[in-house]
Subunit: 319 residues, 2 copies
Amino acid sequence: MKAITLEQIAEILREHDNYLILMHKSPDGDAVGSAYALCMALRKMGKRADTLCGDEIPPMYGYFTELAPNEGVEPEFIISVDLATTSLLSGRTADYSDRVDLCIDHHGSNTGYAAVGYVDGKVSSCAEIIKYLFDVMKTDIDKAIADAIFTGICTDTGCFKYSSVSPATHRVAAQLMELGADSAYICHLMFDSKSRGKILLEKMVLDTLEFYCGGALAVVCVTLDMMKSSGAKDCDIDGIASIPRQIEGVKLGVTMREKPGGEYRFSVRSCDEIDASSICKSFGGGGHRAAAGCSINKDKETAKAEMLDVCIRAVEGAV
Amino acid sequence: MKAITLEQIAEILREHDNYLILMHKSPDGDAVGSAYALCMALRKMGKRADTLCGDEIPPMYGYFTELAPNEGVEPEFIISVDLATTSLLSGRTADYSDRVDLCIDHHGSNTGYAAVGYVDGKVSSCAEIIKYLFDVMKTDIDKAIADAIFTGICTDTGCFKYSSVSPATHRVAAQLMELGADSAYICHLMFDSKSRGKILLEKMVLDTLEFYCGGALAVVCVTLDMMKSSGAKDCDIDGIASIPRQIEGVKLGVTMREKPGGEYRFSVRSCDEIDASSICKSFGGGGHRAAAGCSINKDKETAKAEMLDVCIRAVEGAV
């Protein structure tokens, strides 16, 4: 993949027409916010542009995702946003795996699958990069675009909490608010609003909390039964994975989740001294240093024991 | 109380020596951050300055509150920060109730108890006002001062979530990071770190969750027994009060808490349409429109029934 500048991207986006913007599966606020912001900006330039995701866009993003699709036109130029690897494409987006023209991303681990790309692993979110691109393009950012970018930034930073937040991130947030982004509404919706199902699920999950390594390792479990009896939806699981690591003294937090078919999905969250992605790599997964994931296709006790074994060694090695 | 400008405050602070800065009881991040930031800035000017609080400063703020006290000097000039009313002074701070020389606050409901004061109810936090004061004073903001101000701003805004956050708030956050504020560390400590006691308490509190008004009113209860058996501390209660209001569909969230002596303390959190402070005023309490509190000195069932009665009418009136 040839690395290009934001100025070169702006040039490319002027040249073509009929863009398709791809999102990864299980799209989060950064994927959705980046894709829709870019799509709206391209349409403002008089271009044809659409977004595509293998999964349904969660309805909570409805305040900026209600765009009429362009029907029946074969896309000419394929763009991916917030997509580290094409293995995260699913459904109809997977058809474009081998023909992504331009990639805009903030994952240092980006596999370089596109013809050209702009990847900056130091920026908080893909949406923050999109904002810098719009500065170069002199895009007229309206309220909907500002809401979309703000959503991407705040969701990918845990509402400005993570170490990926820079002074520039806060300045972009200030500008977006001045351009109409409804910061309080968005933050409430993304962070202070829980379904009754999620509240119930959290309570059930806390009942499974176990500590190891003198309290430095915490493990919780989400079963299919819990999902069913709580009435929680898949998108309600997002915050659950951060619960064990939030507990005082915990250096490594593990959430194991039963998937239909018997597989167990692990979300691993770590503190500075421990590399969650290397733990998950040993089971064929990956991610960031502080947050990673993997799957183990064995029965519950075996899967848990194998994960615990690697985690306990990681915690003991870090002390 | 005579309203004065930040420039006039800067002038006053140059004139005097030997300041005492008062904090309200049960001090939060904004009270502690504002008081210590101001104290450190005054000391940098060569002044004698101390902070005083009727309650212990929670140890979680230890990264900026380790200041050697000035012993045995009677304070000459008394300043209050983040203090809406002198009824929130307790212990040794209450001795100064009638002689506060200068008040710096962001509560629109400030009762005007001081000789002179600067109150701006539109600013996110008292700490944000302190930052603007330091701009006027040309204070050399070092890392500890930046950490203290950042702590005040982020704790009083739920980490930049509330509607009190303005574009200026984000710009101040950016500047503070550049001056050394450890944003990620502070945010993790304030928002992503829970004691085991708090986790246990949350679980117990969720067991008491009740809905009224078709789900628009949610009530939880914290008893002395729960506090004891969970091992949670007083400062662990902070986040509990926001739980009921966070549930989807809830317009009014009430947390009732048993206090030693049999009194019940109510924390009321509301959405835009409902004024929490007017609900609490009818029981002799007060606060902001979205977050207020009061006490009822009756047995549990009576106290709850009286509060529910007022809340149900408020919810039904808002529909």
